[in-house]
Symmetry: D3
Subunit: 67 residues, 6 copies
């Protein structure tokens, strides 16, 4: 019955990677807490780097500084 929301920046996660993430989190909740996988919901939000901030800066700016 758990509900999991995962927010990541939109930077090219593939269909297969997202499917693996959903499977992995669902299994983790079953293994650690005995939660029923059939009613475990996982929703992934992919967020533009302009819309995500950490340390008071957007990820867009952080990526530019690293280059």
């Amino acid at each position: 019955m758990p509900y999991v929301n995962i927010k990541i920046t939109k930077e090219g996660a593939t269909q297969e990677q997202k499917a693996q993430l959903i499977r992995g989190v669902t299994n983790l909740l079953a293994d650690l807490l005995g939660k029923n996988p059939q009613t475990t919901v996982v929703v992934i939000d992919e967020v533009e780097t302009d819309n995500w901030g950490i340390g008071g800066e957007t990820i867009t700016v952080r990526r530019q500084q690293k280059q």
Copy 2:
């Protein structure tokens, strides 16, 4: 004053259906709990089927299996 967030898969809900959903939820909160419709906020998120999982699988995969 309530805030409602509705997440559904992005599979063609129309502008009119979303307007009805917003009206319906707002009325429900007024009728059942006496909440003021004027400050009731409803936000609908439409999520790609690749990004929604249940039972450890994405909705994309589930839709394919049904066919």
Copy 3:
């Protein structure tokens, strides 16, 4: 498959009112969008009036001003 999160202030909603709200929202999603009730999840968060603001003021202050 929808997921609905309803946030209201913690001001005495009863067990029965919350059950009615869950039933009502689930029916609405089935009637308007054809969503399967068996996998529709509704989570209600009850928030302290000190922790909810509108118009730049907490609900606690708003309630006091009305008296």
Copy 4:
């Protein structure tokens, strides 16, 4: 360590405005609550006006009525 999610309607906020918003909220949490800016995360969601309701109506309809 705080996490802040800001939902606004998608009506043309610029990259610079969003960067200022992230900086401003991060500073506010540092100034008022002593929170470490380095681990303060801010995520902005821009929502279509069809998907946002207040007073039982979508913002799309509200904008049309004002004209």
Copy 5:
């Protein structure tokens, strides 16, 4: 940099189980998507069974029916 919100019913998850869940999800995001664990945030919400509905019923009612 990911942010993960896990909602489960409040039914006795221990401090150790929650710590394992946080560690497990953080590792999964590092392994599958190469996300930096140092800025991965996980927040667990434990929700009363009266406030969680699936299939139009609260978990409280579901638990009673099973007995």
Copy 6:
């Protein structure tokens, strides 16, 4: 019309600090984006340190290590 959700650890923020945070964020959205304060909603969630993880560890453990 914006909706802001702020999650912080439950470590003694006072009623006054939370009121200031609500006022500050509401003003920021008015100043930077011209958003109407009357319909700006801010909800603060205070989360137990056992339920918040960063770097794969709970805040409870992090606080103990610092001592």
